[in-house]
């Protein structure tokens, strides 16, 4: 597999004999720098999301009248969004696989399909936002209960939507770069890590924001 060497793994320049002396650097931790960097970014970004979700939980638990406005159409819409995002992750897996096998056009196709999933997700999400805004939800008020509902909803989903949007742009850049042989299979894999992370965050936001606030019959 060629994907364990980025241009940045300079430590691998050494000749490699005298193996017992090595003990450090890229040989025992054969993870390319870019991939490790992305993992670390994901750790810190996950903590940022955690802090926002913690804030939401803190305020929701302290509030007696947190609204539960999401009727069946909203839940169906959010479920479709979830399905689209999950499907895009499947496409991403196939894209990473194709890139590792050196199938350039296949990889580019799957990457574009992944980005398309992100775009559909964004469109459905913005439609949802506009619907709620039409019903009178603002960051500081809503027709149903504690005003913080709007603040928490827009902040959490907005932060996630921003990540999806950045992800779409990132995937397009990687797709074009990989198509022109400028980027390696590692770059595709690293972009995949980011995309799966964004997907995973939604797996927390969907139940915490939508299902917990589903309209009770």
């Amino acid at each position: 597999m060629s994907h364990s060497s980025g241009p940045l793994s300079a430590a691998t320049v050494h000749d490699g004999h005298d193996a017992p002396l090595w003990g450090g650097a890229a040989l025992p931790y054969a993870v390319p720098s870019k991939k490790l960097g992305m993992w670390l970014f994901i750790v810190s970004d996950a903590i940022t999301f955690s802090a926002v979700i913690f804030a939401y939980g803190y305020l929701r638990l302290a509030s007696a009248d947190w609204p539960r406005p999401f009727g069946t159409p909203s839940i169906v819409n959010a479920t479709v969004m979830t399905f689209v995002l999950l499907s895009s992750s499947v496409a991403m897996v196939l894209g990473v696989r194709a890139s590792a096998l050196g199938k350039v056009s296949g990889a580019v196709g799957w990457l574009l399909a992944t980005a398309l999933g992100g775009v559909i997700f964004d469109i459905l999400h913005i439609r949802e936002w506009l619907g709620l805004i039409g019903e009178g939800v603002r960051p500081f008020q809503n027709p149903w209960g504690t005003p913080m509902f709007g603040a928490a909803f827009f902040t959490m989903t907005g932060l996630h939507m921003l990540h999806v949007t950045i992800g779409v742009i990132y995937l397009l850049i990687v797709a074009v770069g990989f198509g022109r042989r400028k980027f390696s299979a590692v770059d595709v894999e690293v972009s995949g890590l980011y995309w799966h992370f964004v997907d995973l965050v939604w797996m927390f936001i969907f139940p915490l924001v939508y299902l917990l606030s589903a309209k009770t019959a």
Partner: protein
């Protein structure tokens, strides 16, 4: 894997020739390290002047300060600092010192400069990201300094920016409009810069060590920078989220940190559902690891310097690493001890108190290790060594106060007093700055190719050392007497008998501050006039002393070092040398 060596050659970048690529938008870790260092020097200078102003206001409140009236006609009409402007200056002093000095110089400054050389790498793992980190941090500093020039001046909410004051908007007091917004943007940017930097440090340490540089052969400085980077990565992410929520509260009408029924200057605010305590949790979840982000690089430098100038190995290298790791872990479990006074269940108080006290165990072990390293050594009293010994002194003195504050029953009395001011200035501020001084006097020959003047260095050390005790030790006592902190003045009769102590501390602060000009002079004068530094002026063992002073662009001149020895191989004199370089394939030094 077999094609690795062929790809690697792409990394051998060539030195840029243009001024801008070489000195401004440079991707060279050595230049970026210096950029961070001088950013911190600028910040510490401004922060020091601000501390003079707040000290002067406390004891001579009606003094006309030349030029200040023209600088801020509203904050200091006629050069006399108003009570509100006192708080504004205090905010900027704290923010500058904590973020742009203590967080910047020891980690991003020295770390950027020395880490890649000490582990045998050409550069950081992501040189362009490294450049971006610096420039984002630079923008953060610009945003903060800008608060001094906007109409209402800097915010009055302190470096901790507690809501509701910080979130309530411009009606609540001076500086809480544009000033507070700029503050929040500044800190959010600083978080991004620190996160990118931390990521880069960790990847560099894991991936770019040269052959033979096992984790347990790394100099302790590298361990300290690695652990600090992990703390930064995990804690700045939370502060970033908190700053985003604060910005939303202030500008988008949300109420994350604002409760219902809030009156601002008699006017009912249209907010409900939020909690000021939420900010405190998020802020201190960052804030306590931040204390260690400031001090752990100092631990590394001090362990390193004490070993070099005692001509002895660090006593218990693995124990130091273990202490640093456990301090790093525990720092995430104790944020509530900043909030005892904010009101919490006694059970929660107990829960936060116990790990706080447990931190004293690794902190004590590491302090004893420093003493044990020095004990029986052939000491060389260079200025760097003096500051390292001074570090141990101020760290232990300041740390003792922490054991009082860790207990909720005592903290509830002490938290709002000068005891806390004395404690954290000693243990976090002064100790970390002593670490920086030790690092500066130690690495200056490598960084600038010339030696600092040792006589000026010793004068600088002794006045500073005595001075900081004169400033911060009395604070503990007036705190025990009940003098509250953050007050802009004391008119009550009950406080008058302590005012002479305040006057003494202010005079000490003015003298100690003035002494720093000796350091600034030494720093800039020696750059051009100091004696030329040799490759290894301190007879130290680590990799940065195997290359010319200053090192070439790619650090090792195209060669890649191979490491055979531990980092602290000092011992008896053999063949005229009492140390073995890390790159020396021969055996360990004899030790009596």
């Amino acid at each position: 894997m077999e094609n690795m060596p062929t790809e690697v050659h792409q990394h051998h970048h060539t030195a840029p020739t243009g001024f801008i690529r070489k000195y401004i938008f440079s991707v060279d870790h050595k230049v970026i390290g210096k950029q961070y260092y001088f950013l911190a020097i600028f910040s510490v200078f401004v922060g020091m002047v601000l501390s003079w102003l707040v000290r002067i206001h406390l004891v001579w409140p009606s003094l006309h300060i030349w030029g200040l009236g023209a600088f801020s006609p509203t904050g200091a009409p006629g050069g006399v600092i108003t009570d509100a402007y006192y708080l504004s200056l205090l905010t900027i002093h704290g923010t500058l010192m904590v973020f742009f000095v203590l967080t910047t110089a020891p980690q991003a400054g020295f770390g950027n400069y020395a880490l890649p050389i000490q582990i045998g790498a050409e550069d950081m793992a992501f040189p362009v990201l490294n450049m971006l980190s610096f420039w984002v941090t630079f923008l953060a500093l610009c945003s903060l300094v800008l608060t001094l020039f906007v109409k209402d001046g800097p915010p009055i909410s302190g470096w901790t920016a507690y809501p509701p004051l910080s979130a309530a908007g411009s009606d609540a007091g001076p500086g809480l409009g544009m000033g507070q917004n700029l503050w929040a943007v500044s800190i959010a940017l600083f978080c991004i810069g620190s996160l990118l930097g931390a990521l880069n440090f960790i990847v560099t340490t894991v991936d770019l060590r040269c052959k033979g540089m096992t984790l347990m052969r790394m100099p302790l400085t590298c361990w300290a920078w690695l652990i600090t980077a992990i703390l930064s990565l995990l804690s700045f992410a939370v502060l970033f989220a908190a700053c985003v929520l604060l910005i939303l509260d202030r500008n988008a009408g949300t109420s994350f940190f604002l409760p219902a029924g809030l009156l601002v200057n008699g006017k009912l605010q249209n907010h409900s559902g939020g909690s000021p305590l939420l900010w405190q949790h998020l802020f201190w979840f960052f804030g306590h690891p931040e204390v260690y982000i400031a001090i752990v690089p100092g631990f590394g430098v001090i362990s390193h310097v004490l070993s070099v100038f005692s001509r002895k190995p660090v006593l218990g290298y693995k124990l130091v690493v273990g202490c640093l790791l456990s301090i790093g872990f525990l720092s995430f479990t104790v944020w509530g001890h900043h909030m005892f006074l904010s009101g919490m269940s006694p059970y929660s108080g107990f829960l936060f108190s116990v790990p706080t006290l447990i931190i004293t165990i690794p902190a004590t072990i590491i302090s004893l290790i420093w003493l044990g390293t020095v004990y029986g050594g052939r000491l060389r009293f260079t200025t760097s060594m003096m500051f390292a010994l001074g570090f141990v002194s101020v760290f232990v003195t300041g740390g003792l106060g922490g054991m009082f504050l860790a207990q909720p029953s005592l903290d509830i009395f002490l938290h709002g007093t000068y005891f806390v001011v004395g404690h954290f200035h000693m243990v976090m501020g002064v100790a970390a700055i002593f670490g920086m001084f030790a690092g500066t006097y130690f690495w200056y020959p490598k960084m600038f190719g010339r030696m600092l003047n040792e006589t000026l260095g010793h004068i600088h050390f002794w006045i500073t050392f005595v001075g900081v005790y004169c400033i911060f030790l009395p604070m503990h006592f007036i705190g025990l007497e009940g003098m509250p902190r953050r007050y802009s003045g004391f008119v009550e009769d009950s406080m008058q008998h302590l005012m002479p102590v305040h006057t003494f501390m202010t005079v000490a602060a003015l003298i100690t501050g003035a002494t720093q000009f000796i350091f600034f002079f030494n720093l800039f004068w020696s750059m051009y006039k100091g004696p030329k530094a040799t490759e290894n002026p301190w007879e130290s063992t680590t990799l940065e002393w195997t290359v010319p002073s200053p090192p070439p662009f790619d650090n090792f001149g195209g060669k890649v070092p191979v490491v055979y020895q531990d980092a602290y191989e000092y011992g008896d004199v053999k063949n005229g040398k009492d140390y073995v370089m890390q790159t020396d394939p021969a055996g360990q030094p004899a030790r009596s």
